[in-house]
């Protein structure tokens, strides 16, 4: 108890609170700008966080995480374009409310629902993390291997339309993870005689390249005219009453719990949670026909769910060291850089760091309330920024951010290379999340595989003679079979895509 209080007191310093609020503000702006994803926002903050004390860094990143999840609703409501995939369901009723002259009400409902969902997500994290960490203490190398294999299968299968492309993407990530030193024998691998690759590929180069720069390149495909266009937004002068907010309490609680539990599952994030919550809210509603016409229920449900995902996604990250989504994959990198190794031993060796994450997540909800409430009129103006100006500015930050970790231009060159790779892979339908998550867990996956085989004398039966490991690996195979069946069914349907020239094409 004294450690909790001590950690809490550590958060009440000017530097930490400033970082928290700044993180929330940057997160809202990043999440609010279409084309700038939460993962891109967090990736760009990552190099800054490396120079900050641990508590300050955690406050900054957690604030940005919560802020970005809410931020997507700003553009979803004002310009009918979700700033993040997690806000896609918010457009359905949010924009309609804006057209009906209720933009301010919709934004405030989104904000308060996000805060409520954020609290619920934190409660789920507090309830699940410690018990799960106790179970995972019994995990040995075979169990870890099985769990990571299941995570990769889930992420590879869900990230795109093709499990095969997801697996290819994941294997590319695993190959990148092998660059540097072999974790068992210490031999050099794929360094090409370059001293800069001796420690492996710089994490920032991959994150910023694949998320930020690849997105900048994708946006360039839209053409100069489109990028220079200024989106028109609506005014935000109307208010939300306490009675209107309170009328949504059961909607927000149920959606929040659903969002948090969905967030716990690796590979399934805010975009799934928001639609599941929206559909469930419509099903429970006494007036389901009103959904889609501009009602606050349709804003409260997805927003509560997508912010609750933050807490849920931190459960596998903290207890197992396995990121639940791409944002937590970046957070894993940040924590490791600060000497905090996520996993079950974290709850024994460094419980103080766990409390820091809990408290940061809780305080970030408060920060979100403050910054969101004050900043809505400002954020609604920022959403109007032309991409033709914004994207080049972001690229300079990408260069500076990547350079800053080792003061090495080689890392920035790698970032450009990964940006190009990410763009090419995206264009050909290969999803990026499996690659990033495979890169993050690659060394651990390899180590657990080789340790298991060394323990068993090269006998792969070890993975099937231990019950937990067997269940996890069979689960991965069953899931893969399910995804193949799903893809076969979907393969018979025509899909309309936009080709390189910007024209619609049926495939």
């Amino acid at each position: 108890m004294s450690l909790i209080l001590e950690t809490l007191v550590g958060f009440f310093s000017v530097q930490v609170l400033f970082a928290l609020l700044a993180g929330v503000a940057v997160g809202i702006i990043g999440g609010g700008l279409p084309g700038i994803s939460p993962s891109m926002t967090i990736a760009l903050l990552l190099p800054i966080s490396l120079y900050l004390p641990t508590t300050v860094a955690i406050a900054l990143l957690m604030g940005a995480y919560q802020g970005a999840m809410f931020g997507g609703s700003v553009s979803a409501i004002l310009i009918n374009t979700p700033g993040t995939a997690s806000a896609a369901a918010t457009t359905l009723d949010g924009y309609k409310m804006a057209l009906n002259g209720q933009a301010g009400k919709a934004l405030l409902m989104a904000l308060y629902a996000s805060c409520t969902g954020g609290i619920i997500g934190t409660i789920i994290l507090l309830a699940m993390a410690k018990p799960l960490s106790a179970v995972t203490l019994k995990f040995g190398p075979p169990e870890y291997f099985g769990l990571m294999l299941l995570s990769l299968a889930l992420i590879a299968g869900i990230s795109g339309r093709s499990l095969l492309k997801g697996i290819i993407s994941a294997s590319i990530g695993l190959l990148f993870a092998t660059v540097g030193m072999d974790p068992i024998y210490g031999s050099k691998r794929f360094t090409f005689g370059n001293i800069n690759l001796g420690d492996g590929i710089q994490t920032l180069s991959i994150f910023i390249g694949l998320f930020a720069l690849a997105e900048v390149l994708s946006q360039l495909s839209k053409g100069k005219a489109d990028l220079y266009q200024k989106p028109s937004t609506l005014t935000v002068n109307d208010k939300l009453s306490f009675a209107e907010y309170w009328s949504q309490k059961s909607n927000m609680i149920i959606s929040g719990v659903m969002g948090a539990l969905i967030g716990v599952l690796p590979g399934i994030g805010g975009s799934t949670a928001c639609f599941v919550a929206y559909a469930e809210a419509q099903r429970r509603s006494k007036h389901p026909e009103k959904f889609g016409t501009g009602i606050i229920d349709g804003v409260a449900a997805p927003e509560a769910a997508n912010n609750a995902v933050c807490g849920g996604a931190l459960v596998p990250m903290l207890t197992l060291g396995i990121p639940g989504d791409v944002v937590t994959a970046i957070l894993v990198g940040a924590l490791i850089a600060h000497g905090i190794k996520p996993g079950p031993l974290l709850f024994i060796d460094d419980i103080g760091s766990v409390y820091k994450v809990y408290i940061a997540l809780l305080l970030s909800v408060v920060g979100l309330l403050i910054i969101g409430r004050l900043g809505i009129p400002v954020f609604s103006k920022i959403v109007k920024l032309r991409k033709a100006v914004l994207l080049p500015l972001i690229f300079i930050i990408c260069v500076v951010g990547t350079y800053s970790s080792r003061a090495n231009l080689f890392d920035t060159m790698m970032m450009v290379g990964f940006g190009a790779l990410g763009f090419i892979l995206n264009k050909n339908g290969f999803p990026i999340p499996p690659m990033v998550i495979a890169f993050v867990i690659g060394t651990q996956l390899e180590t657990s595989l080789r340790q298991s085989l060394l323990l068993s004398g090269n006998n792969p039966a070890i993975f099937f003679t231990r019950p937990i490991s067997c269940v996890l690996i069979v689960g991965a195979i069953v899931f893969a079979a399910f995804m193949v069946r799903r893809n076969r069914k979907m393969g018979n349907k025509e899909i309309v895509v936009i080709n390189d020239a910007g024209e619609e094409e049926v495939v």
Partner: protein
Amino acid sequence: MKKVYSDLRSGILLFVISLLMYFVLIPAQISVKAGKNLAADFFPKLTVIVFGLCGLLLAVTSAYDLYRRREQAAKERAQGLWKTNYKAFLPHAIFLVSAIVYLMLMQYLGFVLSSIPFLIFLLWHFGSPSWGKNLVIAAVYVPIVYLIFSYGFRIRFPMGPLGF
């Protein structure tokens, strides 16, 4: 059908890359002492096998799909619908080449002197038409970024002839 053809090309390319990696790159880049159990090349080779097999499977399934719908495929090919519009990627190529040149020049000119002209060019390239406005944006933004990162976070940027 164009997407299926693209998958076929991707699958073949990935399979060829996996063969090159397995037989050329891995032996060249990973030295393995004789007698070592589960040596340093074990996991890369395993991953490349998975990668190659998936690439081959992608190529085979795409080829089969094209064969099944060969009449439609032939028609679309005759109409030239499968041609990739490489001109559409010219802006991206210009951006990437200019970014590489910018980074190479940064070590000689320093961060500020290289970033301001590059940002002016980039703003124009992304569609901001006014050179004057771009100059103002670059002249304000780059020094601010430099000051924040060099004094706030103690980052040592490449020094140019002017010392910054």
